[in-house]
């Protein structure tokens, strides 16, 4: 979270973000100010369409869930839009729908975000409702208990998806009880125990303007907006105290195999280990390396080997999920049960290959061309621009990030890629979760430490 502290009055900095095309530059103008209550406001005026998108990020993500209360950030976020002190949930929903607006609050792993889209002519009214939801939510017992029951049922429904079960189990095993040790939705057992008092306490502690970033994109006047938000969000005082950064998870040597038996036709595999935080300077080297390895879709080695050559899987991809804290590296794939061993073998071979052999200059150039050339695609819609602005502020990337990005990527060399692969890939120390018909899959990996997580649920069902 990057904040410049409290400032009094209006600090206006207009900055042009440049997104590079091959021949021309295109400017995205951003105005950055800080409200009296400490919230950072970023505005990008876009007058082509009569609509406005607002997104407000709070330091209220799932990493803030207290011990034994996994899912609290998520339940709090969902409960906020169930009415205000003046309006019942039903009255609020009717007003929002009548304008054709949308309003919702979601908790992610790092942050919770309140999001609105409205027609320009309903912008002020929609913003007013969003402000009431954030500053004076009703948080009535009955509404919270209803949302809680919905979340439990949704978690049950998610258990139908073997891919979800694999991902959930992998996360729990890798991060153990650290802040990232559960998915934002929590698990059925922990959500069962949450109370309305928990939700209200979490709201008061974490929905604080001093730690918030507001992005407004669309058909608005930036100048008036500052005063309007100053007034509407005045009640959200204070900031959230910093959270100590946990260590990067270390997987001990060996293949740590966890099997979950399900009556399914495909083995759903999650394989990986600890990764990096967004602030790690190797982020860009890893972006290039992972594009070549398994992040680059049909251009990636994993797709070429596992899907295109062998026809073993419909989808296979690798991801470094870099957050505020060190995240994971994860390869996810599905293949028919009987091919599970073969697919895992191919994945491990590719991890070793990119460590042992330098990538070709041509592969390096292709990766750079995509990463640099496709940058404008990240800024082609209001919602995309809003989330870009929030990332820039929260991760301290700088308002000139779009200008810097091509240089950061372009600086990566063949040996940087190999060095990053050697340092951050661990093909001999990994967690492997397989949700499969275990009899058909008969998983076996060299040097494995096996545990059977039971037939149904795996960790924390």
């Amino acid at each position: 979270m990057s904040r410049t502290g409290r400032r009094i009055g209006l600090l206006l900095a207009a900055v042009a973000l440049l997104a590079y095309g091959a021949r021309q530059c295109w400017a995205l103008e951003i105005k950055r100010t800080v409200l009296d209550n400490g919230a950072v406001l970023l505005v990008s005026e876009q007058h082509q369409l009569p609509m406005v998108t607002i997104s407000i990020a709070f330091d209220a993500g799932a990493r803030r869930d207290p011990a034994e209360k996994a899912g609290l950030a998520n339940l709090t976020a969902a409960s906020l839009s169930e009415g205000t002190r003046q309006l019942s949930a039903e009255q609020l929903n009717r007003k929002i729908d009548f304008m054709g607006s949308s309003l919702g609050v979601d908790a992610g792993r790092d942050y919770a975000s309140a999001n609105c889209v409205s027609l320009a002519r309903y912008f002020h009214e929609t913003l007013g409702l969003l402000a009431s939801v954030l500053t004076e939510p009703a948080l009535r017992d009955d509404d919270i208990m209803r949302k809680k029951a919905e979340h439990i049922a949704a978690l049950r429904s998610a258990e139908e998806e073997p891919g979800y079960v694999a991902r959930r189990t992998f996360t729990e095993l890798l991060f153990d009880h650290q802040p990232y040790g559960h998915l934002p939705s929590g698990d059925i057992d922990s959500v069962e125990k949450l109370t309305p008092a928990d939700v209200r306490a979490f709201y008061h502690a974490h929905y604080r303007a001093g730690s918030a970033v507001i992005a407004v994109v669309g058909d608005v006047e930036a100048g008036q907006l500052h005063a309007e938000l100053e007034h509407d969000l005045a009640k959200l005082k204070g900031a959230v105290p910093p959270q100590p950064e946990p260590e990067t998870p270390q997987v001990p040597a060996g293949a740590h195999l966890t099997t979950i038996d399900r009556n399914v036709t495909q083995a759903n595999i999650a394989l990986g280990f600890g990764g990096i935080a967004r602030s790690n300077p190797d982020f860009y080297r890893l972006q290039v390396m992972n594009y070549i390895l398994g992040g680059g879709g049909f251009a990636s080695r994993l797709v070429k080997v596992v899907r295109s050559k062998q026809g073993l899987a419909y989808s296979v991809a690798s991801t470094f999920s870099a957050g505020k804290f060190p995240g994971s590296f994860e390869v996810v794939l599905q293949t028919k049960n009987s091919s599970a061993n073969e697919a895992v073998k191919l994945v491990l071979e590719q991890l070793r290959e990119i460590q042992a052999q330098p990538v070709s200059q041509a592969d390096l150039e292709s990766a750079k061309k995509f990463l640099i050339g496709s940058f404008p695609l990240k800024l082609d819609r209001q919602s995309a621009i809003a989330s870009f602005l929030i990332q820039v502020e929260l991760y301290g990337l700088g308002l000139d990030y779009a200008e810097k990005y091509p240089k950061l990527i372009d600086a990566v060399t063949v040996s940087d890629v190999q060095g990053a692969a050697q340092r951050y890939l661990h093909p001999d120390s990994y967690i492997l979760v397989a949700v499969a018909n275990q009899k058909e899959a008969a998983l076996h990996v060299p040097g494995q430490t096996a545990r059977d997580a039971g037939r149904g649920g795996g960790a924390k069902r």
Binding site: L49, D97, D176, R262, S315
Partner: protein, 461 residues
């Protein structure tokens, strides 16, 4: 339950899905009329070309639509349209297998394709400076289809079916319900095809299918983005004009006979939650009633103040989600679906009773002026929001053009605006009747037992 189309890369399925269903409820224009700004041409070989300048971001979208989908397939050879879509990435006389996506990505673009019951679409969203690249590559694979690696690509499609349908209770129910509702018309079978059919399809089937359906006379090409329309029109003409037509595609002559009496079907399989699907035969865009049916679906389930959400999610707390969807742009008359995933232990027959009560209420008492206006406002707003994405704009233009004329989209909002409260009750009475419905129920059975606690909190060692 929205998966009546299927596409090549799972990662983009969600995005395409959203885009499709957003444009399925189009309408209002922010500008005077969106279609006024469109440049069109018909090449001598019959190819229809639509080009629209949109300068909001330095990107461009290119979409090639072929009027072929599962509706054009024959009994015993289902899934062929979608398999051909996959094979389109497997090389031509000049482009090597899987090179297509590599080239697009190197030029700062993303590409994919998807198949529906009615059509197949190939699309690129790309840095505006490189739009000539997808234009040349798409023309090449229309003319010079020569796929390699047929067997492994078929294996990928079979894995896709396992992932989407075999191991997914909701989609398995949707497939069964659709097969029950259509007896004679090809909407009977799923887009991805039956497993046994897929296993029997041959390379020869694919080559002949391409020859008939992948002709200029059977395609629509749409470009939207930050470019000069004359220049792009010239590039398209240059690349596509030399392509010759194959044999004329045979018309789809099957007509679904009127349904006489309710059809009920039950699926018992491993699942966490019960589900209900209720499908009613309904006319498509050719009928004036299609506007009122669109408004009816809005009133039933769009937004948290909609009737079904309010009754089933909030008041009775019976379901996790409920949705009414109607695709008025279906090439042939299709279904208006109501689908719901139930909370654990809720009896499907009780949910059905409440659904029937809501349908009867809308039939017997016209909606209030305010409720009707709210539904219209929601439609209008989503139309404006849809224009925030150049890809969605291209989709919308192409969908209408395939039905005969892209300018029909200008009639959409006026059509919605003319719907009266009495119209809504009348179409409910006419189409949403018991003898014209198919009821499908998912009953969880044969789940493997879940051990209490499972591997909770276990430490990796």
């Amino acid at each position: 339950m929205k998966l009546r189309f299927t596409n090549r890369a799972y990662a983009l399925a969600a995005a395409a899905c959203l885009a499709l269903w957003m444009v399925a409820l189009p309408a209002l224009c922010a500008r005077a009329a969106l279609s006024d700004a469109v440049r069109t041409a018909t090449l001598p070989n019959g190819l229809r070309v639509l080009v629209l300048e949109n300068h909001k971001a330095p990107v461009a979208a290119f979409v090639v639509f072929y009027k072929v989908g599962s509706r054009n397939e024959k009994f015993g050879a289902t899934g062929l349209s979608h398999l051909v879509e996959h094979l389109m990435f497997r090389g031509t006389k000049t482009v090597r297998p899987e090179e297509f996506s590599n080239i697009i990505q190197e030029n700062g673009g993303m590409d994919n394709a998807f198949t529906t019951e009615n059509y197949t679409a190939y699309f690129e969203v790309i840095n505006k400076n490189h739009l000539d690249v997808p234009i040349r590559l798409e023309a090449d694979r229309m003319a010079n289809f020569a796929p390699q690696g047929f067997d492994s690509e078929k294996a990928v499609v079979i894995e896709e079916r396992r992932l989407r349908t075999e191991d997914n209770p909701q989609d398995a129910l949707a497939e069964l319900a659709q097969a029950q509702a259509f007896v004679e018309h090809p909407y009977h079978w799923p887009v991805i095809g039956w497993m046994n059919d897929l296993e029997r399809l041959t390379l020869d089937d694919a080559l002949r299918y391409h020859e008939v359906y992948y002709s200029p006379q059977n395609a629509v090409v749409v470009a939207v983005g930050d470019f000069n329309a004359d220049e792009v029109m010239r590039q398209i003409g240059e690349s596509f004009s030399p392509i010759k037509n194959g044999p004329k595609p045979p018309p789809v002559s099957e007509v679904e006979p009127a349904q006489k009496g309710e059809r009920r079907v039950e699926l018992r399989r491993p699942a966490e939650l019960p589900a209900v699907a209720l499908g009613f035969h309904a006319p498509n865009y050719r009928a004036a009633d299609s506007f009122a049916l669109d408004v009816t679906a809005e009133i039933l389930s769009d937004g948290k103040s909609s009737r079904l959400y309010k009754k089933l999610v909030v008041d009775r707390r019976m379901v996790v989600n409920v949705d009414a969807e109607y695709d008025r742009l279906s090439f042939d008359p299709n279904l208006l679906w109501i689908t719901a995933q139930l909370r654990p232990h809720v009896k499907p027959e009780n949910t059905l009773g409440v659904l029937e009560g809501e349908i009867a209420a809308l039939r017997d008492r016209a909606p209030s002026a305010e409720e009707l206006q709210k539904a219209k406002n929601l439609v209008q707003a989503s139309f404006v929001y849809g224009q925030d994405s150049i890809f969605r704009e291209a989709m919308l233009l192409g969908q209408y053009e395939m039905l005969g004329d892209y300018r029909m989209l200008d009639q959409y909002l006026p059509g919605i605006d003319r719907v009266s409260a009495a119209d809504v009750s009348r179409v409910v009475a006419e189409y949403m009747t018991q003898p014209q419905r198919t009821l499908a129920v998912l009953i969880p059975a044969g789940m493997l037992p879940h051990p209490a606690g499972g591997a909770s909190g276990a430490v990796v060692h």
